[in-house]
Amino acid sequence: MRQRLIPARTAATMRLGRGERVTIIDQAGRQGADCIAVTPDGRAVTSSQETRARTLRLFPIPGEAIYGDTGEPMLTLLEDMSPGPHGLLVPPCDATMYRLRGGGCGHVSCYDNLHRALAAEGVALGRTPPTICLFQNIAVEPSGVISISVNASAPGDRITLRAEVPLVLAVSACPNDLFKRPPLQPTDLLVTVEP
C-alpha cells in the first residue's frame, strides 16, 4: 500500500494504475478534499457536468462512476464511510473568491494548488474543471437554493474510489478558512492507494 499525507492548505498527486483503489481520509474531521483526476496525457479530465448527466445525480452513489469530459468512466465510487454529502456542483476555491469574500489577495487556493501539483507531474491543464469536492456539505433545497455549510465529516471518515483508467489524481486539502471559524482550521488529509 502506498500512502501520502497531504498537509493542510496544500495539494499533492498520486499516480493510479487501472484497478487501483484510492482512499481519501479526513484525518481530523470537517476537512474538504478537492480532487481532479486526469489521464497522464491530459486528454481527459474528471467532469462534474458529464457525471451529473450520466448518473442523473448530484453525486454518484457506491457502484457508480465519476466520468471524464470525454464521456468515459474515470473513477468508480466503491465505498463511502462518511455521512456525506459530497459535491460536484461548484468550482474549486481560487484567489478571486477569497479576495471577493474578504480573504485578501494571494490567499492560497485549491485552484492554484491543484494546477501546481499537476504541473509538477508534467500535466499542464488548459482548463479547470469543477472539482470533485469530497466531504463538502452541500445541499440543494426543493426551492433550488444551494446551501454550503461547514463539513459534517468526522475524524477518520473516508471515501474509496477505483481507477478505471490510468490516472493522475490531484487532491487538495482545501485551505478555506473563511467558512471555518476558530477553533476550526484547515487540516491534513491522508491518501492511500492499494492494488
Binding site: 457536468q49 442523473l56 464521456g71 473568491m97 482548463r127 433550488g144
Partner: protein
C-alpha cells in the same frame, strides 16, 4: 440582427457588451444549446459551476447573471418566459457534447470568430429545458414545455461570443435569435 435556426443548425455570433439578444421559440417544445466565452479571452467561459457558486441557486431567474470562469457576470437573464427556462444541471439536455463541439466549432469558424480548442470547449447551457432536483439528489429531466413565442432575453455584461444549436421538430424552424445591436457585426443580416 435576426437569425432563424432550424433543428440541428448551429450559429455563432458576437454580442457586444450592453447588447441584448432575444432567443424565441418558433415551435412548441423546441430549445437551444448555448455555449459562450469572452471575445477577448476564449478561456473565460460561461459556466454552470461558477453560476451555481455565485447565485447559490440551481436555476437562474430573470435578473440573475450567468457567471464566467473568472467569477464575473457574462450574461444577464433579462426575461425568462418559462421561468425557469435555463437548465444548468444537464449539459446534454438537448444534445450530447460529442454532437455539439464539432458543429459549434464549425459555426464559429464560419463566422470568423475565435474559439477555444476543441478539448477546451465549455459544456452547454440549455435554453427552454428543465431538470428538477429530487430530495435524494436525483436529477429528473422534465418534458420540454416551451411554447411557440416563448422567449429568453440575455444581455451581455461583457463582449461575448455565443454559439447556439437548435433542437426541435425537423419539419419547421425551431429558434430565432434577434438583437438591436449595431450593424457592425460580421453576422448582421439586416
Amino acid at each position: 440582427m435576426s437569425i432563424i435556426l432550424r433543428p440541428g443548425e448551429f450559429r455563432a455570433l458576437l454580442l457586444p457588451a450592453g447588447a441584448e439578444l432575444s432567443v424565441s421559440l418558433m415551435q412548441d417544445g423546441a430549445g437551444a444549446a448555448m455555449l459562450g466565452w469572452a471575445a477577448g479571452d476564449t478561456f473565460e467561459q460561461v459556466s454552470d459551476a461558477y453560476t451555481f457558486m455565485e447565485l447559490r441557486r440551481t436555476h437562474p431567474r430573470a435578473g440573475d447573471a450567468l457567471f464566467s470562469t473568472l467569477r464575473r457576470p457574462m450574461l444577464v437573464l433579462r426575461r425568462d418566459d418559462m421561468a425557469p427556462g435555463v437548465d444548468l444541471l444537464r449539459h446534454d439536455a438537448w444534445l450530447s457534447r460529442t454532437a455539439i463541439v464539432g458543429p459549434a466549432a464549425a459555426a464559429v469558424k464560419k463566422a470568423g470568430l475565435t474559439s477555444p480548442g476543441l478539448a477546451d470547449f465549455p459544456f452547454a447551457i440549455n435554453l427552454f429545458a428543465h431538470t428538477t432536483v429530487l430530495p435524494d439528489g436525483v436529477l429528473q429531466p422534465e418534458p420540454a414545455l416551451g411554447k411557440l413565442g416563448c422567449g429568453i432575453v440575455l444581455a451581455a455584461a461583457v463582449t461575448v461570443i455565443l454559439v447556439f444549436g437548435a433542437m426541435g421538430d425537423a419539419q419547421s424552424d425551431a429558434v430565432s435569435l434577434s438583437s438591436q445591436w449595431p450593424a457592425t457585426s460580421p453576422l448582421d443580416e439586416l
